[in-house]
Assembly symmetry: C2
């Protein structure tokens, strides 16, 4: 382990230059929470002036960094491994973390009591920060993590009460509502008149936003949607299969379906095939995500693309900046949530 | 957190009864390493006599347990998520750990420098033990973990020099050599005379043992195998695809192939189909693992079954016992490696 004495300016030099304590410099360099804006500016000025570059190995010694970041996915192993969304986002996260010599620790959870266990581990100082995914509305974990003072970034906009007003909250999401609106508008342009929707779990903001986008395109309020055209799924292929069957029972003359993700859309394709319906001649199908199952589907799925791997990279970047592990102290872009655009990808299913 | 005073006997009571120190009782209860056999027996006798049940929450306080176990897979995310072997083994591990209120931390690695980072994390006291998978011959990680004193259990028999003589080494494996022998013997019984083999990476003992089983069935020594019938794969479907192509180029009249796992076998099926060869009429195919791709393959694969989820459970059990986290102090079965039997499953590809 090196400490880089000599030509490189030290934390002490920055403290002396700014006329503040070493601890204050350290706090600012590590994300700046709990330091007055005025003092923060003074320190940043000195950092820039002296050309101070925080060294993560040395910093580990000073701040007792662990060199690891937890990725918490509030889903069981079987679901995490079955959904390419997670594999691809993890790839982006892990590359970005590795580039900053930080280890990814993946934690998945199955039952209520797993929350308490994970909460204990996160609070006990074993990780420098956490990336949290697939959180459902009533999830106690973010509160645990935030109370413990652990830097955190969320995958998808958090939906708990008060989340909107929390200016410190960081997340990366895609523009779900606009993406869904594009998908349904596309079906309308193809002349479809009776368009059904298969939702993801509505305790997740992504599922709610995609449903709202469906309503936007149809030009009706959520409460005015035709209940015989709305079916509940759970983001799995099996859930999509069952939801499609219920829709065909309640609305045998539907001519299109928008599914909240590609897995549910591929389940819907299976049900349509089993009932002898042609896609898209009888029923057009659009998914969401543009992950591998979309291109492999038979017929290949029209879907809404979000760049999942990139979103993983962005989450890791935000977290590393909040922890203060990126050597970009001079970077002036504020730490803020990121919402990436969604793009319609037209294939043969519509 | 509870300490269970009153009717339940304490660690102190056991120490007094056995006439040893509290620390000695704690060591014995936590796995018994570094305590003379005679003293260990005395303590175990007292534990049994008093009906002492270690309480893991209380024990965490005493021994500074972290409540977490690392699962280290020496493969990148893309491979771990593409191979159902890992998902299924993780399911077994995670269930068993959750049953003992212990959190699974999954770490995957891609590049050489990841080893040092993971080694540091494992040595820094952030986990109670480690389960390690898919270790290649020259892997520095087991040595790092063992030197740090971290209890460890390996998935698959370790192959580094000296591993055979290390009586403390714990691992769970399947009888790879016998499984492969059965697979090839089955092909011989079906009248196949020119049987090729696609190997996994030969720096893993499972791949070497399966190759040796192939030789056993053919009744020849490793060095006497026909090189035009042996192709190297990497346990991926793409690797199997390419290996099968090379085999058909070097031995166009081969009538069977044994692949070291189901993924490579499914890749081989793709190549055979692309070359217009019928399975099994022209070429019989046998895989290894009996995971989902085997039953889904077209035609469904004959393969060698190992109970992967159970093996995960066994690994976690062994580790929890070594750490001393199972309430089975009275259990007399010695801590030893487990080798599970392998069973041929005949389907339509042979």
């Amino acid at each position: 382990m090196h400490t880089y004495r000599g030509s490189r300016p030290t934390l002490e030099a920055v403290a002396a230059h700014a006329g503040v304590s070493r601890a204050t410099v350290s706090r600012v360099v590590n994300g700046g929470r709990g330091v007055r804006a005025e003092v923060r500016e003074k320190v940043r000025h000195s950092v820039e002036e002296l050309g101070y570059v925080p060294n993560s190995a040395a910093r580990t010694l000073v701040t007792r960094r662990t060199g690891a970041v937890a990725v918490v996915i509030a889903e069981p192993e079987s679901r995490v491994f079955a959904d390419p969304f997670f594999a691809q986002q993890l790839r982006g996260i892990s590359r970005e973390l590795a580039g900053h010599d930080t280890q990814l620790l993946l934690m998945m959870l199955e039952r209520q009591k797993d929350y308490a266990r994970i909460g204990r581990y996160l609070s006990a100082g074993h990780v420098d920060g956490a990336l949290m995914f697939s959180l459902h509305g009533d999830d106690p974990l973010p509160a645990m993590a935030l109370h413990s003072g652990l830097p955190a970034v969320f995958g998808g906009r958090p939906g708990w009460p008060g989340a909107e007003d929390d200016e410190d909250l960081l997340y990366v999401d895609t523009d779900n509502r606009n993406g869904a609106r594009q998908a349904v508008a596309h079906l309308q342009e193809r002349g479809r008149r009776k368009i059904a929707v298969i939702n993801g779990p509505l305790d997740q903001t992504s599922a709610v936003d995609r449903l709202l986008g469906y309503c936007d395109a149809l030009g009706c309020a959520l409460q005015d949607t035709d209940p015989s055209l709305v079916a509940q799924g759970d983001f799995t292929a099996e859930g999509g299969e069952r939801a499609m069957a219920r829709l065909l029972d309640s609305s045998p003359d539907l001519d299109a379906v928008f599914a909240g993700n590609d897995l549910m859309a591929s389940g819907a394709l299976r049900t349509l095939r089993a009932r002898g319906l042609r896609v898209p001649a009888d029923v057009a199908v659009v998914g969401y995500d543009d992950l591998e199952p979309a291109a492999w589907a038979d017929p290949p799925l029209t879907t809404v693309r979000q760049d999942v791997e990139d979103m993983g990279t962005m989450m890791a970047e935000l977290l590393l900046r909040r922890i203060g592990l990126t050597d970009e102290t001079a970077k002036t872009a504020p730490l803020a949530p990121v919402v990436t655009p969604a793009t319609l990808v037209v294939r043969e299913s519509s």
